[in-house]
């Protein structure tokens, strides 16, 4: 009986993993199958042309800008907020409020962020439709993700590390950046990787704040079009699935590169602290 239940559960575990992987293979396979025909040097590095035979280089550059700016702002704020919640705050009303706020933020549809960004950053703060306004909106979107994952990572650091360090007459701050943060780095990093995904994949919030200008941005105050917004417009308006998929291939490769570099950095980090 026990055996049967075990085997059933084990079977379900394998089945679930298989399904997840199968879905992944199907989606990525679909995107590559549809889009690979359009991929060429000119497509990736060429300038955009509205007649359809141009490239997507301006969108690639815009996408990289948004990822970098959003992360540069959101990562430190998110980590520090998580540190406050886990390491400093006494469990109480304030913490519950902050947690509740963070959790609620994760559930807000991006379209609402987009509308908010369009009114607050674009109009009220007079940033105009721009990469900066979009990045600030994205910062709000990924902040909860970074906070939550960092909190979980911090929780896994054994209390004995904190005691060991504090008993040596170090401050909380020293303990934090010498012992606690290094030990929770892999968890924090997975949060950042999730955030990159969210930023790169966002469309609704971006096109309301950065617009859809299909040209190389002059500065972060320029209005511009990210890869995802591009594939969104292409799908909605021209129904050109091949083109949307081709942009998708570029997106996937871009995400892959970002993830691999993040993993590489985390490995280096671990080497210098652990081994």
């Amino acid at each position: 009986m026990r055996h049967f239940k075990d085997n059933l559960l084990r079977g379900l575990l394998w089945l679930s993993a298989f399904l997840s992987v199968a879905v992944l293979v199907m989606i990525v396979g679909f995107i590559f199958y549809k889009g690979i025909g359009l991929i060429s040097f000119d497509f990736i590095f060429g300038d955009y042309s509205p007649t359809g035979d141009g490239g997507i280089w301006p969108m690639i550059v815009t996408t990289i800008y948004t990822v970098l700016i959003s992360l540069v702002i959101a990562t430190p704020i998110g980590i520090l907020a998580a540190v406050y919640l886990q390491e400093y705050a006494k469990q109480g009303r304030l913490v519950r409020l902050i947690r509740f706020a963070t959790e609620s933020l994760t559930g807000i549809p991006s379209i609402i962020y987009g509308l908010f960004g369009a009114v607050f950053f674009v109009t009220t703060l007079k940033l105009g439709m721009s990469i900066l306004a979009a990045s600030l909106t994205l910062t709000i979107i990924v902040l909860p993700v970074i906070i939550r994952t960092t909190e979980e990572a911090l929780k896994t650091v054994p209390g004995s590390y904190r005691e060991g360090s504090l008993a040596l007459g170090t401050t909380k701050l020293q303990t934090l950046y010498k012992v606690i943060l290094p030990s929770s780095m892999p968890g924090i990093l997975s949060g950042i990787i999730l955030s990159v995904g969210r930023i790169v994949g966002e469309s609704a919030a971006i096109f309301l704040t950065a617009g859809t200008v299909a040209a190389m941005p002059d500065s972060i105050l320029s209005s511009a079009r990210t890869l995802t917004v591009h594939s969104y417009l292409v799908t909605q308006e021209s129904g050109d699935i091949e083109l949307a998929a081709a942009v998708g291939i570029v997106l996937i490769v871009l995400i892959l590169v970002i993830n691999l570099s993040a993993t590489y950095i985390s490995k280096k980090f671990n080497k210098s602290t652990n081994k």
């Binding site: 026990r2 084990r10 575990l13 089945l15 679930s16 993993a17 399904l19 997840s20 879905v23 199907m26 679909f30 995107i31 704020i77 998110g78 907020a81 406050y84 400093y88 705050a89 409020l97 902050i98 509740f100 706020a101 959790e103 609620s104 933020l105 994760t106 559930g107 807000i108 549809p109 991006s110 379209i111 609402i112 509308l115 009114v119 709000i140 902040l143 909860p144 993700v145 939550r148 994952t149 979980e152 990572a153 929780k155 896994t156 401050t171 909380k172 701050l173 020293q174 997975s190 999730l194 995904g197 994949g201 469309s203 594939s231 969104y232 799908t235 949307a244 997106l251 892959l256 993830n259």
Partner: protein, 304 residues
């Protein structure tokens, strides 16, 4: 005689340490400020949405009850009822949870506990990659593969349906759930596993009775984040939902969830129509807040 542990009046603090304490105090303020930023933005967003969305009810004499329970949404004829969308949102979210959560958690367990390190090292990053695929592409995939598949396999007149939405959302929440839950499960101390295995408990028994419960908090986070993705998703859903304005009675009906309604019409809306879309946002908000509240209660109960 009592000595409070947090004594405010400083008594002779070492010179070298003064700077450290200063830094400590300053940094704590900075940390607090960062933590409060999410509260501030939440308040700003709520304020903004409510300001816009409450206007028709406060100033233009529309009835909120009619808005919630009305089943006609014809903006050009001044009819704003979102009942079908509320029902659609609930069905779609619950459906996606029912499919996505077990598969996601089981995949996470598989990767953390069952798969060889080699296999996990290949699959985990691949699943993380899925998290990065833009939702539009999921929508395209849904429109080009899932919708025709449903049409052909079940002989439907149209594949744009509640079930298509559920499938797409379930797929979309997978990577988040798998990644976060896997991290949490891996973090469970090895001593728990040893303790259980040494009692002659099978690996599977150990996983489900000791390891998973010990990772509960992280798993809840995974579900909350996955749920967030499902509720907040618009672009993929627009493409596969069909967006019909009917109260769904079967999985094969076309539906229009709340988010979709906002995204679909916001670019074209003006005046009261636009404000009603913000009002839809308020309903969505309440929906999310209630869900978070329920989840928090559940996880608190489990914590005892």
């Amino acid at each position: 005689m009592s000595i409070p542990t947090t004594n405010k009046q400083a008594v002779e603090i070492g010179k070298a340490n003064k700077r450290k304490y200063m830094l400590e105090r300053v940094s704590q303020r900075v940390f607090l400020f960062c933590a409060l930023l999410s509260v501030i933005t939440l308040l700003l967003i709520i304020g903004f949405v409510f300001y816009k969305g409450a206007h028709p009810f406060v100033a233009e004499g529309y009835s909120f009850i009619d808005f919630i329970f009305g089943s006609d949404w014809v903006p050009s004829e001044d009819k704003f009822g979102i009942f079908p969308m509320i029902v659609a949102s609930i069905y779609a979210t619950v459906g996606a949870l029912i499919i996505g959560v077990p598969i996601g958690l089981f995949t996470a367990i598989f990767l953390a506990e069952i798969a060889s390190e080699r296999l996990a090292k290949i699959i985990s990053p691949a699943v993380q990659l899925l998290a990065g695929i833009p939702s539009v592409l999921y929508g395209v995939f849904g429109l080009a593969i899932i919708v025709p598949f449903l049409q052909d396999t079940f002989g439907l007149v149209k594949g744009q349906s509640l079930i298509a939405v559920i499938l797409v959302l379930a797929i979309m929440m997978l990577p988040t759930i798998v990644t976060v839950a896997e991290t949490a499960i891996r973090a469970v101390p090895q001593t728990y596993r040893e303790g259980s295995l040494a009692l002659g408990v099978s690996q599977i028994g150990t996983i489900f009775k000791v390891v998973v419960p010990a990772a509960k908090s992280g798993i809840m986070t995974a579900i909350v984040l996955g749920l967030g993705r499902a509720i907040g998703e618009t672009m993929a859903v627009i493409l596969v939902a069909g967006n019909s304005l009917i109260v769904p009675t079967s999985l094969t009906d076309s539906v229009r969830p709340l988010t979709t309604n906002i995204a679909l019409e916001m670019g074209y809306a003006f005046g009261t129509h636009q404000e009603m879309l913000f009002a839809t946002g308020i309903v969505l908000f309440s929906f999310i807040l209630i869900l978070n509240f329920v989840l928090a209660k559940i996880s608190a109960k489990g914590g005892n």
